[in-house]
Symmetry: C2
Subunit: 118 residues, 2 copies
DNA sequence: GTAAGTACTATACTATAGTATAGCCCTATA
DNA sequence: TATAGGGCTATACTATAGTATAGTACTTAC
């Protein structure tokens, strides 16, 4: 085992969680959905209306994805007709810091690019 | 102009920088390339060897992308034969915080998922 | 009975990201 | 003269993300 191998192991164990985090956040719709849900639990149709441009198919897919990742919870009300809502989980709250730092860096980056500094 | 419109404006101005940041970081190869370059400037072939599995085509494409975004700088040495190296810019250093928070959250997330807590 | 809303799913398509393979032009070395 | 390395680019392919459009099964309101 050489230094480079140690380094390589180190890299992998650094990169894997970053990949995990990016996978959870990435794609065109996940963040907008999270934002829509920050103001409280919402029904499928409500989210669909707030997240402009999303198709039912994508919303359905993304919500399932986010449910698997523990970011949203699906609540079914036992009424007639059945009412379904989606709500952010406590786990999704822990994303706050990540989102903040992405936002801050994104703003800095945009300024640099626009100012021609880069 | 209603409350919802104000909210909507707010959302867009929050989401845009996040999108910007994610675009810069996303894809399979950008982070591994950044990691490879943290240990100093490297030549095309060296990066290619350190970032296991990347094809020349992708490396070429990603490096150009990162150059446009001001993350790496291409240095051409006026020797025979010409020597080309890539080096991280000061701007890419500002990504440190983002990467840290992605990594931390990714680790937390992985633990939660594996423990079945989610 | 028909129109409209709710929460979806199905099918088929396009666009973008990534892979596989090869080749080019240069130079140094055997 | 051939072989290998360096720094790419070209072409063609596959895989994944996203879009467009339609349909289903239910229920309430007109």
């Amino acid at each position: 085992m050489e230094t480079t191998d140690l380094k390589h192991q180190e890299c992998i164990s650094t990169l894997r969680p970053i990949r995990d985090a990016l996978d959870v956040l990435n794609g065109k719709w996940k963040l907008p959905i999270i934002v829509a849900l920050t103001f409280g639990e919402k029904r499928f149709g409500e989210i669909s209306r707030e997240v402009h441009g999303i198709t039912d198919r994508m919303l359905s897919k993304e919500l399932r994805d986010m449910e698997v990742n523990g970011l949203v919870k699906r609540k079914v009300y036992d009424t007639y007709p059945v009412k379904v809502t989606y709500i952010l989980t406590p786990h999704s709250q822990t994303l706050g810091g990540v989102i903040e730092s992405l936002r801050n860096w994104g703003e800095l980056h945009r300024k640099k690019i626009l100012s021609g500094e880069v």
